[in-house]
């Protein structure tokens, strides 16, 4: 599986993703500089966290005009896998590749902590290894992860089953108490209708090794690798 990790000025999770892809899992890695529209034949585009272009104006607002994003859009239109985490999720929303927007956290605090999540879609290339896992544990680290969509969009998303992750407690109960940032319906991640563009606030790249306190993030990378072996070599 060949992963492309997009790097904007201000991206900060690129090396963490790169470490997991290359050093932990031995997959092919290519960093994609935002000014280069060539995706170099990658199978999955990762848009990592950080503060692309300083998050000036709004999180992700400037990043969507980078030359690489035009290619990411057509890659997604062809069914290519696009995986945005944290700032990457914000960029996907600003680009219109996913609906809605990420607002400042309820309570105005930057939150860096472990969260429990219920994964409601384990049929995706990104999450197939979460099958039979009622609750997973991944860290969040953001000031603006408060997912918002208008009621019509929200009900469309819910009906189509596009919500992939919801903040929950350790037992998988999705309640206001387990919502760290005020996101509507406890939404932590969602996918487009076709199932190939995933955006999520949590950081899978920060929990792919036991030394870091958890390995649930690694399952997402392994899901993609497994999917690649089945689909790309078929």
């Amino acid at each position: 599986m060949k992963f492309g990790v997009v790097v904007f000025p201000g991206t900060w999770s690129d090396k963490d993703f790169g470490w997991v892809i290359d050093r932990v899992l031995g997959q092919e890695l290519r960093y994609l500089w935002h000014k280069d529209p060539d995706l170099h034949g990658v199978d999955c585009v990762v848009i990592p966290g950080g503060f692309a272009h300083g998050d000036y104006l709004r999180c992700g607002a400037i990043a969507r005009f980078s030359p690489v994003m035009e290619s990411v859009r057509s890659f997604a239109d062809r069914g290519g896998l696009v995986w945005g985490s944290c700032n990457g999720f914000q960029i996907l929303c600003e680009s219109g590749l996913l609906p809605g927007a990420l607002l400042p956290n309820e309570g105005s605090r930057f939150i860096c902590e472990w969260t429990h999540l219920v994964c409601e879609r384990t049929d995706l290339a990104f999450t197939r290894q979460f099958q039979d896992r009622p609750v997973v544990r991944l860290p969040i680290s953001h000031g603006q992860g408060n997912y918002f969509a208008d009621p019509a969009t929200l009900s469309r998303l819910e009906q189509a089953g596009q919500v992939v992750f919801r903040y929950s407690d350790a037992e998988g109960r999705v309640e206001a108490r387990s919502n760290p940032n005020g996101s509507v319906h406890n939404i932590a991640g969602l996918v487009n209708a076709r199932g190939n563009v995933l955006g999520m606030m949590p950081h899978p790249e920060r929990c792919a090794e036991a030394e870091l306190g958890g390995e649930d993030g690694r399952s997402m990378f392994q899901s993609l690798i497994e999917w690649g072996l089945e689909v790309l070599t078929a």
Binding site: E94, G100, N146
Partner: protein, 84 residues
């Protein structure tokens, strides 16, 4: 000519920043502050001479970049250049 754009969070959108500033003002002895909404003020310097044309251009700028229609409203005014 100059254009002044004001971008504000939509009424249905929570504004934690505004709420925090409101708390601060009340703590400072301004109990009359019932609410605070915070937005952005953007001043554009345009190389244009026709106000009508500028209106259309700034409208498009707001729609495509300056405001996110999911969460924000915008309004703007064009300052006509001084007459001859």
């Amino acid at each position: 000519m100059k254009a002044r754009v004001i971008v504000t969070p939509k009424p249905v959108v929570n504004d934690p920043q505004g709420a925090t500033v409101g708390q601060g003002l009340r703590a400072l002895g301004f109990p009359e502050v019932r609410g605070v909404r915070m937005g952005k003020f953007i001043e554009l310097d345009l190389d244009l001479s026709e106000v009508a044309g500028a209106n259309a251009r700034v409208e498009e700028m707001c729609r495509r970049l300056l405001a996110n229609h999911v969460i924000e409203d915008y309004r703007f005014e064009i300052e006509a250049p001084p007459g001859p």
